[in-house]
C-alpha cells in the first residue's frame, strides 16, 4: 500500500532558515539550511519542501541553494516562492527540484499555470493554498495571506485542481507558527472532497499534532519549526507515529 508522507518544510529568507508566526517572520533558526536538513535526520524524511519567503526576489541566490541541497539529499524536493514564469521554473527543475510550489500565480497569472501544466504536467505542480478567516468564513488568500481571493477555501482548492494542480499544500493563517496544531476541521473536509493528494501544514508543535493530521484523509503532513529544535527530530517523530499505527515508510 501507498504510505502516508512526513514532510519537512524549510522556510528561507535570504537563504537563512526562518521561523514564521501568522505568516510573519519572527526569528532566524539556522544560518545554514543544509546543516538543518542534515541535523533533522535526512534519511528518515519522505520529502522536503523549501519555500523562499524573502521579502525581495532573490532568485539567483535561491537557485544556488537548491542546487547545493539537491546534491546532498536524494529525496523528493518541492520548491516555491516567487515563481511566476516558465524560465524560472525550468531553472529550478534543472537545479534539482522535482515539483514546483505555486500560490499567487493561480490567481494572478492563469496563462502561466496553463503553460506550466502543458510543459511539465500536473504531477510537477503543487498548489499552495493559504486559508484565513474572513467574515466567519474560511477564505483562500494569496500573497502570503495579504490579499483575499474572495473565494471559500474549499472552492478555491477545487478550482486549482481543475486548473491542473497535481497536489495541494494547505496552510492556515490562524494556525501558522502557533502551538494550536493543524486546522483539522477544514483540512479534513478538503482532503475528503478532492481527488488529488493533499499536504497539511501549519501549527504543528507536537508529534500528537502530526498524528491528528495523519488520521484525516490527507496523504501527507508537513511541519517546519518543530523539526529544527532537536537532533534527529524527523526520525523521532516517525518512531512515535509508527507506534500509533500510522502507515509510514520506515526502512
Amino acid at each position: 500500500m501507498l504510505k502516508k508522507r512526513l514532510i519537512a518544510v524549510i522556510i528561507v529568507s535570504d537563504n537563512k532558515v526562518i521561523q514564521t508566526k501568522n505568516f510573519k517572520h519572527t526569528n532566524i533558526i539556522h544560518y545554514d539550511p543544509i546543516f538543518s536538513v542534515e541535523a533533522m535526520g535526512k534519511w528518515s524524511l519522505d520529502e522536503l519542501i523549501i519555500i523562499n519567503a524573502s521579502k525581495k526576489n532573490n532568485s539567483k541566490q535561491f537557485l544556488k541553494l537548491i542546487n547545493t541541497i539537491s546534491k546532498k539529499v536524494f529525496l523528493p524536493l518541492t520548491v516555491g516562492g516567487w515563481v511566476n514564469d516558465i524560465q524560472y521554473s525550468k531553472n529550478l527543475l534543472l537545479s534539482g527540484a522535482d515539483k514546483i510550489l505555486i500560490n499567487t500565480a493561480f490567481y494572478k497569472n492563469k496563462k502561466f499555470i496553463k503553460d506550466f501544466v502543458e510543459i511539465y504536467g500536473s504531477q510537477c505542480l503543487v498548489a499552495s493554498v493559504d486559508t484565513k478567516r474572513e467574515n466567519n468564513k474560511d477564505i483562500a488568500f494569496i500573497d502570503r495571506c495579504r490579499i483575499s481571493t474572495g473565494t471559500e477555501t474549499i472552492e478555491w482548492c477545487k478550482k486549482v485542481s481543475q486548473m491542473g494542480a497535481g497536489e495541494i499544500f494547505l496552510n492556515s493563517y490562524e494556525n501558522d507558527g502557533t502551538n494550536k496544531g493543524l486546522y483539522i476541521r477544514l483540512f479534513q473536509q478538503i482532503s475528503s472532497n478532492l481527488s488529488i493528494p493533499t499536504i497539511l501544514f501549519g501549527g504543528v508543535s507536537s508529534w500528537a499534532h502530526l498524528e491528528k493530521g495523519f488520521k484525516t484523509k490527507a496523504n501527507a503532513v508537513a511541519a517546519a519549526n518543530i523539526f529544527h529544535y532537536s537532533e534527529s527530530s524527523v526520525t523521532n517523530a516517525k518512531e512515535y507515529l509508527i507506534k500509533k499505527k500510522i502507515n509510514l515508510r520506515y526502512d
Binding site: M1, L2, L77, I119, Q123, D251
Partner: protein
Amino acid sequence: MLAVIDLGGSNIGSVNNILKYLKVKTKVITEIKRSSFQDIKKIILPGVGSFKKAMDNIKKNNLQESLNDAYNSGIPILGICLGMQLMCKYSFEGGKTEGLGWFDLNVKKFENKKVKNIPVIGWNSVNQIKKNKIFNNINNKSNVYFLHSYYVPISKKYTIGVSDVNFKYSSVISKKNLYGCQFHPEKSQKSGIQLIENFINL
C-alpha cells in the same frame, strides 16, 4: 561513459546528482550519433513530463533510430518513470501515442474508481516477483518514491516488480538489456541509490 538522454521536460538535474555522488562519468545528450556507440556503455532514459512531448522530442532530435540501435547492440538501458513508459508500445496519455515499442505493453491511466488519489504520489513497496541483478542488495518490499498518473499493466513475460495502490501494476519491468522502473530511484534514498549502483555494475 554513461549517457543520460535529455528529453526536454525531464528532471535530469536529479539523475545527474546521484551519478556524481556515485562518481560515474556521465554525458548528458540530446542526440546520439549512430557511429558513437563505442564510447557509450550504458544509457539512462529519465523522464518527467508528458509522453507525447517526450516522443516528439525523440523524433525531432533523430533519436529513435539510434536508440533502437543501442537496444539491438545490447547496451544496458534504464528507463525511469516516463522513460520506462516510453519503452512500451503505446500510451493513452494525450491521445493514443506510439512509443519506442521495445516492450509489447500499453500504458494506461489510473482510474478514480480504484485508486483514490491521482496522481499517485509517495512511497510504496516493490514486490520482487522475479530474481534480477537490478534488485541486488535491495530487500524485497523496500519502499521507493512514485509520482505518476499512468501505469504499465502486469505482464507475465516482463514484470519483475509489482506495486499495489488498491490495484496492482508493474513497478519494474525487464527484458534482455532493458530495465524500466516506474518509481524514481534518484529520489528513493538508500534503496534507489542501490538500484542505480546495480545498473552501473551490470
